[in-house]
Amino acid sequence: MSAHTPKALYRDEGIVLRTQKLGEADRIITVLTRRTGKVRAVAKGVRRTKSKFGARLEPFTHVDLQLYTGRNLDIVSQAESIRAYGQEVVADYPAYTAGTAVLETADRLTAEEKEPSLRMFLLVVGALRALGEKSHPAPLVLDAFLLRAMSVAGWEPALAECARCGEAGPHRHFSVPAGGTVCPACRPTGSAMPSPVTIELLDSLLTGDWARAEASQGINRREGSGLVAAMLQWHLERGLRSLPLVDRSESAPRREASLLSEA
């Protein structure tokens, strides 16, 4: 149990990150809440068709929850949805795969349960809103979220200065283990040499300069995504399962053309 004062019944709002089946008709839901941080709770009977809150406790839903502290896991007693991002996100396959990567990252980067992480919560809400409203291309939203989530977790990549000695840049070399761009003197062997435009793109994603980010070319976006993914995987012990499955195409899936030509 947490070191918090035990409270029998508490209320909080949060984003459902993932659900796991439990027993015959129950689910364990992982919620990133505004005040309490990450909570794992049992939702009883939600897999039955007659369940009142089954639909509200799906991933991507922003819910207002009433929970009571259990011996091991908390138990959901009431749930009201504040906004269900699921429907908007699911209708668009690239947005869905990007969204699942957002949720998995948020889950993995908040290691401790019941440790308040308001900034991560606000980041997730922001990312899901952007994905649902399609205000920016889904792959860019994902990379912006990943960069900022790493920054919240204390792993903000150095993009304008040398990650080792702090000498002002821009620098040409990029090292994932060092944590960003590196100057020629500090450069470890095996550093990458990404295009300077790509580093600029990462910087605009991190700072929220969407006009500059959206003006970027596909080649820089792909290179940027690669760097972001490599940094994230470096910091997390296990790789993210959803990241390789992210569909970065803008419209139709890439496999479609090859499948049709097989006939």
């Binding site: 809150f53 089954g54 639909a55 509200r56 209708a91 396959y93 399962r241 899936p253 499948l259 097989e262």
Partner: protein
């Protein structure tokens, strides 16, 4: 702890889904006191399942022959295909007696968080089946949850250029339920999919 064989049986039963240590013990002692003919029948059923059941080569439903019962049935129509996640969904739809077409079992739903992508499902097999042009309507009957909806959106986009009629099962209020208890997502869907009553 019990001696050898009894404990082994309890351990094996305890590995089944939904069976805890206490239930496993209860089942084990029931089997110990049961008629030997009953136990033999159970053993035979288990062996037969393992030896003879496989996946249908056409639709990937469970079958005892090369093709399942539904794929072999000449009375079923060939132009409507219903896509489901699991073999048990086929049984659920069959119970309605509403559908006379054929099935395609995907073997799950797209769930990136569990590492399941389109390549882990029988999507390619579905596309190959649709190539010959016999099917004119595709009914996507994946679960009405997040993964199911995402799979439906993916399939709809994939088969879109083939010019088929693609539909998704309606979702809405359960028969015999009360409107006031419905959650807002389901009720919203029921409104979206409302139908005209002909006077």
């Amino acid at each position: 702890m019990y001696e050898g064989a009894v404990q082994d049986l309890i351990d094996e039963l305890g590995r089944l889904p939904g069976v805890g240590p206490k239930s496993a013990q209860r089942i084990a002692f029931h089997l110990l006191s049961a008629e030997s003919a009953d136990v033999t029948r159970l053993v035979a059923a288990l062996t037969r399942v393992q030896e003879s059941v496989r996946f249908c080569v056409t639709c990937y439903n469970v079958a005892e022959a090369e093709q399942c019962r539904i794929c072999r049935d000449p009375r079923r129509v060939d132009d409507v295909l219903c896509v489901v996640e699991e073999p048990k969904d086929v049984v659920a739809i069959e119970r309605t007696r509403e559908f006379r077409g054929r099935y395609h079992v995907l073997g799950g739903a797209i769930s990136p968080i569990d590492g399941v992508g389109p390549d882990d499902l029988r999507v390619k097999e579905l596309m190959t089946r649709l190539m010959n042009g016999a099917v004119t309507e595709l009914i996507i009957a994946t679960d009405p949850n997040l993964e199911g909806e995402a799979t439906a959106a993916y399939l709809a986009r994939l088969v879109g250029p083939m010019g088929l009629a693609v539909s998704r099962l309606a979702s809405g209020l359960p028969v015999g339920g009360d409107l006031e208890y419905a959650d807002e997502v389901t009720l919203g869907r029921a409104f979206e999919g409302r139908r005209r009553i002909d006077a």
